[in-house]
């Protein structure tokens, strides 16, 4: 199966977009790719699962990108980073992602789990809360993710 087929299999028809096309306009400005040819496609996980899993702490997006012949899945959450409340929210989403990926065909790809701040950030990469989040598998990149 291809990344596209896995997205459709997992999230449904009409959820796969070319490049970074699945990202909402407000979020798209927070993500860039220096080599767009490497981008395989993207999906809005949050929107696709809103109906079947309305009360879950859903992660925002998945972006497929081929680097060095390996297809990686970048799991991207664009979320405020202004308080400890936001850290707790991202932790809940991360736990959800980990559980949701279990046995899921999108879970087969090497993962890069990223939190991108959507507004002003009160954290930097030395913050203990950010280190704690990294120890759970999620890296915080500030306001911009360069793939």
């Amino acid at each position: 199966m291809s990344f596209k087929a896995d997205v459709i299999d997992t999230l449904g028809d009409g959820t796969f977009y070319k490049g970074l096309g699945a990202l909402k306009p407000a979020d798209a400005g927070h993500v860039s790719c220096a080599r767009p040819r490497e981008l395989v496609g993207s999906a809005d996980v949050d929107a696709a699962l809103a109906a079947p899993l309305p009360n879950d702490h859903r992660w925002d997006y998945v972006v497929g990108r081929t680097a060095g012949n390996v297809l990686n899945a970048h799991w991207i959450e664009v979320h405020p980073a202004g308080s400890t409340k936001n850290i707790a929210e991202v932790e809940k989403k991360l736990a959800w992602l980990s559980g949701w990926l279990h046995g899921n065909s999108l879970g087969q790809y090497p993962r890069d789990v990223v939190w991108v701040a959507s507004g002003k950030s009160t954290y930097n990469t030395r913050s203990p809360a950010i280190k704690a989040l990294a120890a759970k598998g999620c890296r915080f990149v500030g306001g911009h993710l360069a793939l």
């Binding site: 799991w75 991360l94 736990a95 980990s98 559980g99 990926l101 279990h102 879970g107 090497p110 993962r111 890069d112 789990v113 701040a117 002003k120 950030s121 954290y123 930097n124 990469t125 030395r126 950010i130 280190k131 989040l133 990294a134 120890a135 759970k136 598998g137 999620c138 890296r139 915080f140 990149v141 500030g142 306001g143 911009h144």
Partner: protein, 390 residues
Amino acid sequence: MKKLTLRNIGQINEASLTFGDLTVLVGPQASGKSVSLQWVKLLQDSGLVQQQLHTYGLDYDGKLPEFLDVYFGEGMHSIWRDASEVVVDGKVVDVKKRIARQQVGKGESVFLIPAQRVMALANGWPRPFTDYKSGDPYAVRAFSENLRLLMEREFNGSGPLFPQPNRLKADYRKLLQASVFADFKLSVDKVQSQKRLVLGVGEESLPFMVWSAGQREFVPLLLGLYWLMPPGKVSRRNNIEWVVIEELEMGLHPRAISVVLLIVLELLTRGYKVILSTHSPQILELVWALETLRKNNGKPQDLLALFNAPKSASLKEMAGKALEKSSKVYYFDPASKVVDVTNLDPMSPVTQEASWGGLLEFSARANETVAKAVANSADFASGDLFKEPA
């Protein structure tokens, strides 16, 4: 001096520095930070520098290249080129002319604590100006000489130099005791007739060479702080307006750095303008917190919490004044112009600002490495990582 611009000097393409009450310079090695700080000293204290060089027999014949070798150190004449330019508060300084003639010697207005400060106590006692080689930088000699004068004039009596009741606030002494000196006391003893600084605990006296690296680095800094904060009700030393400290973090544990930074705030509240050069993100953390507290009506106790310092009335008063002070941070980019990164905004599209002049780069990469390893682990894939312990 409110603004200094240096162009085409040594490694510096262009450094345009508008000083805050606290100004911090960051950047890789050999990017021009130290040279810039020495220019601040030279421009403010030209007459005094010339007088001292003359007094101690260092002759440069009124010529700029020879002067630069004497002032900045051997071989440093090469930092000045035809296109070099120094501008202070919008006015170009005729450096050659200034060096050619003896300027009026006023009192010292810039106190520079150099990165090589440990050399000042190389034999356990401050070395005089003339004890150095002719190619050694002026900044080291002058600092060393000031420490010698301090010891000669103000520490003739008995009793320890640290802790000493009339030097530094009791809160600072306690914090320094805990973070730097432990049970040791800094005092003067004599071997035959030669005085020397020792760290004593009980009956034992440890000479300079057996101190910890941090203690060797810290004691010259402490003596420099004594010089800047005279005993009694005098808040500042003579005509000194500027305090320049190169790499105050050298050899110190982050807890000790924290105490020194608290004392830097004390210097600010005494009316000194302070310039620091650093490779420590901890110093930028202070500026980040200071500026954020200032913009958001932070309280003195918030600032003291940053240092885990006691909330005594005297420290609260100091912290309240420190919150009124302005800060500036500049990144010395070896490939380009010096960049103002004062906002230290992790969201900034300017890479040098978001990475705090490169000081956060390694931390970001460590996070990435750890996060990717964990995200691809069996525990993450199985969901076990997030299961509540039974």
